[in-house]
Amino acid sequence: MKWNGWGYSDSKFLYNKKGQAEFTGKRYRLSGMIIPGLREWMESTFGANLQHKTPAAPILNSSAVQPPTLNEAFLKELKSTGIPFSHDAEDRVFRSHGKAEKSLLMSTKQSSMFFADCHNDVVKIVELACKHNVCLMPYGGGTSVSSALECPPEETRSIVSLDTSQMLNESGYCTGHEPDSMEFSSLGGWVATRASGMKKNIYGNIEDLVVHIKMVTPQGVIEKSCQGPRMSTGPDVHHFIMGSEGTLGVVTEVTMKIRPMPEYQKYGSVVFPNFEMGVACLREVARQRCAPASIRLMDNEQFKFGHALKPQVSSIFTSFLDGLKKFYITKFKGFDPNRLCVATLLFEGDREKVLQHEKQVYDIAAKFGGLAAGEDNGQRGYMLTFVIAYLRDLGMDYYVIGESFETSVPWDRVLDICRNVKARIVRECKDKGVQFPPLSTCRVTQTYDAGACVYFYFAFNYRGLSDPVHVYEQVEHAAREEILANGGSLSHHHGVGKLRKEWMRETISSVGMGMLKSVKDYVDPNNIFGNRNLL
């Protein structure tokens, strides 16, 4: 795994000697392929140029990292328990950031790293941390994008990071929970952040999947006495744990529902003449409660991006077919290539039902001017989700920084929030002196009865800016203000971390803050779990 980028060390985008984009490694469907359109897309979208390269520092210099603040007594006692740990600089840096942009550029204050193996290990570590007043920060999979894993600058105690990512065994069962980060994130992390998965339409979000949770807190262990499917025993204590973002304790054991592996899977895609029609279709699908395992609607910019990521075609026949499709959609059907957008679909279940379901969804789509656009486009759309994070690293090599963020919003505001937030990003970039027009795009990734989850991506070429990270933060901040002003939520599933803390009070009201605060005060009065997320 990379410490200074996303994902596996062998998988990355690069420009080969011919100047063509290529994705290395063997892990993904795109691996080892040439992507001829990417370079042109990057150049035309960002004004990025192969000549202007900013290599990321490949080797971590341990002298550049702050020396750890060690608590000798705590360490000594812990060593006797035999739990593996590390002071290694690379480990520490690795564990002190998630995947939010600015954390790639920061150092760490952490002193030690412990690798916990089982519930009892965690209990021992937490007990000793309380005894020696050491700050604990659970790590999980390290895929946070809300600065949740950053060490609070005001913390003076010795900070110890607790890596629980080794605890999830390969179970072989299907939980159906598939967040985009699933290759790297941990079960405890999902619970602690109220995660959401791609196939939530069938399996539900984490709060629907969890049956039982065990968490180690400074006050002791919290868990329920049985595994009943639903209880009316006051407010559900699981809801104090889910979304607590490591401020209350360490989730050590989770019981989740499991489902048989689906017999049949089918991708699909629909092209709409414009985004408005697409949203109307998704809303209708939600109204009829017939959403497939996943349904996502990309806007025009993202459609073009997806197009740029098409790998080199192997035969003349395929390229002829592509040309024919394009002709049919733009010329025969009269879709404007600068307005059309595409929805990707994933159906799961037994074969017959899937086919039936598929027909129902395509029929609805047809009412909104949608044309079926094939399995291949759909599949590529989902693959995109997994490789998009790698692409960010390629962008960074060429003065492009970018990020994504999410929100959830009632149906009647989906179009407005998409338009306004994208426009706000463009305007803010311009106002802050960004020299090139930014990429500002969105997609609707989840549907609910009462609304949708919307994902925004923005990226810009920062050549000519003296403090790109600051500009970047300002734009992101403005975009979030715009989301809130347009009736969007603070977060659908990324969580609050430290990045979005400032808006918590207006989001849940002062009384709501007081409720959360009093739970924290009771469970962890000495702030042992001192990552200062959320509140």
Binding site: P410, D412, R413, D416, I417, R419, N420, A423, R424, L484, A485, N486, G487, E506
Partner: protein
């Protein structure tokens, strides 16, 4: 906070282009039939006007309101919706390119006849052209003459910019043929006095919001609400402004662009009609035959017209930090929701800002400056002895310099300014043997000698014409003028004392002049810096000292505002001495006029402006705002109640004071309570001592 930065840059004469010049060179037919291919708003739908109507009728909002009304009145929803359809038919525009061409042809013919030139600032037009593509645009011209109703459409047609839809009063629609032509040129019609007609409000607001939300055409409306009879800016009306801005507040559009447009005339076509109307001669009903009768006005020369397109203002930018749009997050946006006071204040502030910006962009003609000076001469000098021509031109040049010092926009032609100006306004003054006289209407050799009262009215008609031209320049002088008045009355040099009095006057006169709410201290600072700039006063940290060299400026400014002080004072007096607690507007206006006429004849009153119904209405509005007078809700005939009863409600103590103290103080009492606490001591002492409100013996 410094909004002055938002005002358009002061434009030099050079930047204006005469659009009639081109029209005089090529044929009007060719002009009307040329290709018209404007760049519309990027998000605009390609729908027709019937699509717009359908969208309004089918809207969730209108459905909801229709259900509510049906429930309240007991009639069926279908019936209410039918009624809504009828309202919409009566209201909606039917913009058609063919009629735009017809309009272009006719308007070009008429304007070439009326005006020597129509100057337009090209920079403003270019900015507008850009802005129209970016977001929905609201064109907000001032309204000084019927002539300007189609001027903006005419200019936009000429420069290939999308034609606006225009909010107009319903009387225009009832004109035969012309009403329909206007409708097809983009006018939509709004009833006057909508009152509490819920369905009408609902249809109107949904119609306006839909236009803005979809950006199908730029929307043009007069934020002042109606044509200013006095050529002075009118305190903005907020109803339309609310509707126009709501799509931004509710996040239905990313931004809205407001474009203030200042239209200034050398000479206004309906000048004499306006004066008569203000004196109570009823306004002729808008009718097609009336229009033809008015065609004799086509024979006259009306000089030049300036249309100054202001810099496009982003509502988003202006509202930043002022409002929190998330208040609309908890109710579906197509249901009605009363905006918070925060939002209402913001709308009010924006509306005032626009009118101020219109003022800043208006061009001041030499004639306006002359009118200022003529009105400061005693009336007998004007009517009988005549004013020295030489002295007048000297002083006008002096005033020109003052206007430049005060950053006003001047329209100063190069050659032979003074005499050509007087020649253009031969209907008001004439120049004979080195002296200038006021022209009074009617035949002096008439058999029936006029009664003294009729004589007053006759002079008043002429004076009020002068007054309206003076009003065109007033906005430049108001702030320093109020400071000069404060200095004159208080005789104080203490800055904080002057500031208190400045605020008091600003408050009392805020129906008369445009003050942006919440900017009292900026206004004061502006007044101070302008007076300092022209060398009238010296400023230190605490004090404002009058300089010897500044006496002329200060006296000019103080005299400029004196008619307003006199008029207000007289009406206050009338209200308190008149025994009735309840009066109607119909009783009030002639009664004040009678009293004023008497006092003018006896030589106790030196201004004719109090005879103007506009002044009277402004005083009434000011008193209502200050809660000294209340309007009776149930009454159909605009009945008002002097606040004695309301005061009684609030407490005996106050009532006692009101009854016990002399009239002049009584009035000051009615001024808001919090102000009272602040100003009482100051005012009581100063007013008595300086006899601002002298009780007649």
């Amino acid at each position: 906070q410094n909004n002055l930065a938002l005002y358009p840059r002061h434009l030099d004469e050079e930047e204006f282009t005469d659009i009639l010049e081109e029209r005089r060179r090529t044929t009007d037919l060719g002009y009307a039939l040329r290709t018209f291919n404007p760049q519309p708003y990027k998000g605009a739908p390609s729908g027709s006007t019937s699509d717009l109507k359908k969208a309004v009728l089918e809207s969730q909002y209108l459905r909801y309101i229709a259900k509510e009304i049906a429930l309240e009145t007991g009639s069926s929803v279908e019936k209410v919706r039918q009624e809504a359809r009828g309202i919409l038919e009566e209201m909606s525009h039917n913009l058609q390119l063919g009629f735009i061409r017809l309009m272009g042809y006719t308007v070009s013919k008429v304007f070439k006849r009326l005006f020597r030139s129509i100057y337009v600032n090209m920079e403003g037009l270019n900015m507008l052209q850009q802005a129209i593509q970016e977001s929905p645009v609201i064109l907000m011209p001032n309204h000084r003459s019927y002539v300007d109703f189609l001027i903006v459409s005419f200019i936009l047609f000429t420069y290939d910019i999308p034609i606006p839809v225009i909010a107009a009063g319903i009387p225009l629609a009832s004109m035969k043929v012309v009403g329909e032509i206007l409708r097809r040129s983009g006018a939509f019609f709004i009833r006057r006095a909508i009152g509490s007609d819920k369905l009408y409000w609902a249809v109107l607001s949904e119609y306006v919001r839909t236009i803005v939300r979809t950006g199908c055409a730029p929307l043009e409306f007069y934020v002042e609400g109606f044509r200013s009879r006095t050529l002075k800016s009118v305190v903005p009306k907020l109803g339309m402004m609310d509707m126009v801005l709501e799509p931004y507040f509710k996040g239905e559009v990313f931004d809205i662009t407001l474009v203030p447009i200042s239209i200034s005339y050398d000479r206004v076509v309906e000048e004499s009609l306006l004066a008569l109307e203000l004196l109570g001669v009823p306004k002729p009903k808008e009718s097609t035959t009336g229009l033809f009768k008015a065609s004799r006005v086509l024979q006259e020369d009306y000089g030049c017209m300036h249309v100054n397109f202001g810099r496009p203002l982003s509502v988003r930018q202006l509202c930043e930090g002022k409002i929190n749009r998330s208040e609309y997050n908890l109710i579906p946006r197509d249901l009605p929701q009363r905006p918070s006071t925060e939002i209402q204040d913001c709308v009010n502030w924006l509306a005032h800002l626009i009118v101020r910006t219109q003022e800043e962009g208006s061009l001041i003609s030499p004639w306006s400056l002359m009118a200022c000076l003529l009105l400061q001469a005693p009336i007998t000098t004007l009517t009988e002895e005549g004013l020295q021509w030489h002295g007048l031109t000297e002083k006008t040049l002096w005033l020109r310099k003052l206007v430049l010092d005060f950053r006003g926009c001047l329209n100063w032609p190069d050659s032979d300014v003074m005499s050509s100006t007087v020649a253009l306004h031969h209907s008001i003054v004439h120049h004979k043997a080195g002296r200038v006289y006021l022209v009074q209407d009617g035949d002096p050799a008439s058999q029936d000698p006029l009664s003294p009262e009729e004589g007053v009215m006759r002079t008043a008609a002429a004076v009020l014409m002068l007054v309206s031209y003076r009003n065109q320049a007033l906005h430049v002088f108001v702030r320093p003028g109020i400071l000069a008045t404060a200095i004159h009355i208080t005789k104080s040099t203490q800055k904080d004392e002057l500031f208190s009095f400045f605020c008091f006057l600003r408050d009392v006169f805020s129906n008369e002049f445009i003050f942006i709410p919440g900017r009292a201290s900026q206004d004061f600072d502006e007044a101070c810096s302008l007076l300092q700039k022209c060398g009238a006063v010296h400023m230190s940290q605490q004090e404002v000292t009058v300089l010897e060299t500044g006496l002329e400026v200060l006296s000019f400014l103080q005299k400029l505002l004196q008619p307003f002080l006199d008029s207000y004072q007289l009406i206050f007096r009338y209200l308190c001495e008149n025994g009735a607690h309840v009066f109607t507007e119909k009783q009030f206006l002639p009664a004040v006029q009678n009293l004023a006429t008497k006092l003018i004849l006896s030589g106790d009153l030196h201004t004719f402006e109090v005879l103007s119904s506009d002044t009277q209405k402004n005083v009434l509005a000011a008193l209502r705002r200050l809660e000294a007078v209340t309007k009776l809700r149930a009454s159909q005939q605009n009945e008002y109640k002097v606040n004695k009863a309301a005061v009684r409600r609030t407490g005996d103590i106050l009532c006692k004071i009101i009854c016990d103290i002399p009239v002049k103080i009584k009035l000051l009492f009615c001024v808001r309570l919090e102000n009272f606490v602040l100003f009482f001591t100051l005012l009581y002492l100063k007013m008595i001592r300086l006899q601002l409100f002298t009780t007649p013996a």
